[in-house]
């Protein structure tokens, strides 16, 4: 007797993803779709696509979506959530969108305790525009705008976004996860589920930072990229729960 052991989540549409082969955006999309389905909130969710490689993510998530100006996803999500408080609202942003141009919107959404879930894909580079230096680019990492490698003297140190957000009193849950092997993918899914569950329980602002890969702009094969994520990125961006105020509210 045949048995279905795996099927695509209803949380995603059938549209073919626009991401480059080997990039981890697809895994994050799948996890979000699965969580929306498992929590039975697909038909009460509104997502916000940002500017960057995920600009077209509104094609992929099978719920209502808005596309925001560069960096403004958390402000747009604030407007949505305040107007539709019973909906589940999430943003999907890159490290350039959230950590650079949109840092003010993100920090203040957290500081107001906006009851939204922010999904941050940190791949240490501007992917969509062709591989420029991001606020999260590692020291020595070569990009099209740091061709000799990122220099601390010239560019400062890479921003540790989860650590920054953990300082904000109204941030309810902040965790950094990775996708470099199946075990970590499962861990990442648990983190994501917790964040969305906290939102459903109206606990406030939640953010999951995914260490993500960009094989094309890193100049690596997908496997090399996963290895670099594991060895170089996680060394500077340690994984773990940076903030969990869940208990305080119970």
């Amino acid at each position: 007797m045949n048995q279905i052991v795996y099927k695509k989540t209803k949380g995603l549409t059938d549209t073919e993803l626009s991401y480059c082969p080997g990039c981890t955006h697809g895994i994050i999309h799948k996890l979000i779709g699965e969580i929306l389905e498992e929590l039975n909130v697909i038909d009460r969710s509104i997502g916000v696509a940002s500017v960057g490689c995920s600009v077209f993510s509104y094609y992929y998530f099978n719920c209502d979506m808005q596309q925001a100006a560069h960096g403004r996803s958390c402000a747009v999500a604030t407007g949505i959530k305040r107007s539709r408080p019973d909906s589940i609202v999430f943003t999907y942003q890159g490290d350039g969108d959230l950590g650079s141009i949109g840092i003010a919107e993100a920090i203040h959404a957290a500081n107001r305790g906006e009851n939204i879930t922010v999904i941050l894909a940190n791949n240490a580079i501007y992917g969509m525009t062709g591989g420029q230096m991001a606020p999260t680019t590692l020291i020595g990492q070569k990009t099209t705008t740091s061709q000799a490698g990122r220099s601390e003297a010239l560019h400062g140190l890479p921003m540790k976004i989860s650590e920054i957000f953990a300082q904000i009193p109204k941030a309810a849950y902040v965790e950094r996860v990775s996708l470099h092997n199946p075990q970590h993918v499962l861990k990442a899914k648990k983190a994501l589920k917790k964040a969305f569950t906290y939102q459903m329980e109206k606990k406030g602002f939640t953010m999951i930072e995914f260490i993500s890969t960009c094989p094309v702009n890193w100049g690596m094969t997908p496997n090399e990229a996963l290895k670099w994520a594991k060895e170089s990125m996680i060394e500077y961006f340690p994984l773990g729960v940076y903030k969990d105020s869940g208990d305080e509210h119970e």
């Binding site: 038909d43 209502d64 808005q66 589940i88």
Partner: protein
């Protein structure tokens, strides 16, 4: 309710609520602060949304999110703050979201000053953001008219799925006048917002609010659709007042506080036997071009009067289309002219025609 004596900004805030405003997002800037101050209390007490944003940029993007979710959303600001909102206004127009933006104009450029000014005419009517888009813009001259157009603005915004701006100069925001907040407004035949992301749809029915069209042919189609809408607005929504047009020798074109001053100038001129009429634009986009077809044959010239170094004059020249001599009078930086200064400008023109 009858007439009550109210300060301009507070009357604007209350009128917005009476017009159906569900959500306000703003950031402090003089001379419009009484609007968010009033609404911070009112909206919270009435179970509506008020958020003091971290910046004008954030505020206009909150409006995008709220308007995109189908509620009646607004923001208010003043000239430099409106400059910061321009990116968001372009996105809102591109995504065809209805909203209200109140602009209590002050002097510029740069940080400028906080006195009344009309030096943002081009910013408003030419679009300070990128791309082919337009904002429907009203420039009322007194509080009653301001209150009426603020109340009507959500009807117009919803009808055309386009942002509406109420552009008053700081004088109107700060002064007190008696207003009737319960005058009926023209209701439009509005459809249900089937495009709004309410978070209740999946699959083929799901709703998407976006402004990106990477395929040039797709973007051209979208831009032409917007253009057709703007043409319809130009045809149907021009608003203006004609004053003293019969047998006029000269016509003044002025709006907002400037038109109030010009009313006094017209009286002074009349006492001296000089007949002067006025075209008073109430919408500055669409520009009331039709008014220029109502200028009588007795007219020898047109004086465009503004609180700027000359911005609306471009539209006056376009609308005039070479038919009459056009002169300009302006004070700027927040300086208001005496009525006599406009009298002198008309007399100077008499010697030239």
């Amino acid at each position: 309710m009858g007439k009550v004596l109210m300060k301009g900004n507070e009357a604007i805030a209350l009128a917005a609520v009476k017009g159906g405003c569900d959500a306000f997002f703003g950031y402090p800037i003089t001379p419009q602060n009484e609007i968010p101050e009033f609404l911070s209390k009112y909206m919270n007490e009435h179970g509506k949304v008020f958020v003091q944003a971290e910046s004008e940029v954030a505020a206009i993007n909150m409006v995008y999110g709220a308007a995109g979710s189908g509620v009646r959303a607004m923001t208010s600001s003043s000239s430099p703050g409106i400059a910061l909102k321009q990116e968001g206004i372009s996105y809102i127009a591109a995504a065809e979201l209805p909203c209200l933006i109140v602009n209590v104009m002050r002097g510029g450029p740069g940080l400028g000053g906080i006195q009344p000014s009309q030096a943002d005419y081009k910013q408003i009517t030419r679009g300070g953001g990128n791309g082919d888009y337009q904002v429907i813009a009203f420039a009322p001259e007194n509080l009653q008219e301001t209150v009426d157009v603020v109340k009507e603005s959500f009807e117009i915004a919803d009808f055309y799925r386009n942002p509406v701006m109420i552009a008053v100069d700081g004088l109107i925001g700060q002064m007190m006048e008696p207003v009737d907040l319960d005058r009926p407004i023209r209701k439009r035949n509005l459809e249900e917002k089937k495009w709004a992301t309410t978070g209740q749809s999946t699959g083929e029915n799901r709703r998407i609010v976006t402004s990106i069209h990477l395929d040039p042919y797709d973007l051209e189609r979208h831009s032409m659709k917007l253009f057709a809408k703007y043409q319809k607005i130009k045809e149907n929504e021009q608003r203006y007042e004609l004053i003293n047009m019969k047998d006029a020798q000269f016509i003044i074109v002025a709006y907002g506080s400037m038109s109030r001053i010009c009313r006094s100038s017209i009286e002074l001129l009349s006492e001296q036997g000089i007949k002067v009429g006025m075209i008073r634009p109430i919408t500055i986009w669409p520009y009331p071009k039709k008014a220029f077809d109502e200028i009588p044959a007795s007219v020898k010239g047109i004086l465009c009067a503004e609180l700027s170094t000359g911005q609306m004059i471009d539209d006056v020249l376009i609308s005039n289309n070479g038919r009459w001599k056009v002169n300009f009078f302006g004070r700027t930086g927040g300086v208001l002219p005496e009525p006599e200064e406009i009298v002198e400008a008309i007399k100077k023109m008499m010697g030239e025609v």
